[in-house]
């Protein structure tokens, strides 16, 4: 027998309702935050790295600290030469910038789970 846990929204039968009416279902992927780190890339550099050493490829989101607000990347700016993207390995998250003429600050969010269910 499979084991797990479900929590339904108020008014829904946890035994019979669909996933859309569940607040939590342990069978489905969740976004649990492993770490949030600040990453700086100096002028003249085209990339920066945050290590996690989880041993698997986790889900990760990256936000550009764009002055006062945050802006989630990837940023598709090929038209004006300022694209920003990132990739994830089993040990790190690497952020790459196209325009190296100035410095950047990022918030790198790493989740506890891989994309695999």
């Amino acid at each position: 027998m499979g084991c797990g846990m479900k929590v339904s929204k108020a008014g829904y039968n946890v035994l019979t309702t669909g996933n859309a009416n569940l607040s939590f279902n342990s069978d489905l992927a969740t976004h649990s935050i492993y770490s949030i780190s600040t990453l700086s890339i100096s002028s003249g550099s085209s990339s920066g790295t945050i290590n996690h050493n989880l041993g698997f490829i986790p889900k990760a989101w990256v936000f550009h600290v764009d002055g006062t607000p945050l802006r989630r990347i990837p940023k598709d700016g090929w038209w004006d030469g300022d694209s920003i993207d990132y990739y994830i390995t089993t040990s790190s998250v690497v952020v790459e910038v196209e325009d190296t003429s100035h410095s950047y600050s990022f918030k790198v969010v790493i989740f506890t789970r891989s994309p695999n269910i």
């Binding site: 939590f24 969740t30 649990s32 698997f56 506890t112 695999n116």
Partner: protein, 132 residues
């Protein structure tokens, strides 16, 4: 003694050191939705959605992609992209992006010619959790 709850994937040990083995591990906070909704009629402009959380939260925004027809015209697609896209054509470029503030998010769609060809639909999620 520390307290919490863990649920592992089938066949995995509850004391595993591999975080990917867990469906739930309360030592690591889950993203929690603060608000969500849809927006529309937003081309060449900015839609502001207040959250008043007092900090910059996690946000997801997806919107219909605006494409260039190759002749300076516009193709409104029904494909939802992460709301941070550029589409550059020979005579006009379209773009969309979201900025996150401590009291609001600003969802912008625009183009380099300031044309207003129609409406764009999208969805957003604002989470309780802070990007610290």
């Amino acid at each position: 003694m520390a307290q919490g709850m863990k649920i592992t994937k089938a066949g995995k040990a509850i004391d595993s050191a591999v975080l990917d083995d867990f469906y739930l591990h309360t030592s690591y906070p889950l993203l929690k939705v603060h608000s969500s909704g849809t927006f529309s009629t937003l081309i060449d402009g900015t839609r502001t959605i207040s959250h008043n959380l007092g900090y910059k939260p996690f946000v997801l925004v997806f919107s219909e992609y605006v494409n260039d027809d190759g002749s300076g015209g516009v193709v409104l697609t029904s494909d939802y992209y992460q709301h941070d896209w550029y589409q550059g054509g020979a005579t006009i470029t379209f773009f969309g992006y979201t900025k996150i503030f401590t009291d609001r998010i600003e969802i912008t769609i625009g183009n380099t010619n300031s044309v207003t060809p129609g409406a764009v639909d999208g969805i957003y999620y604002i989470f309780k959790d802070e990007v610290v």
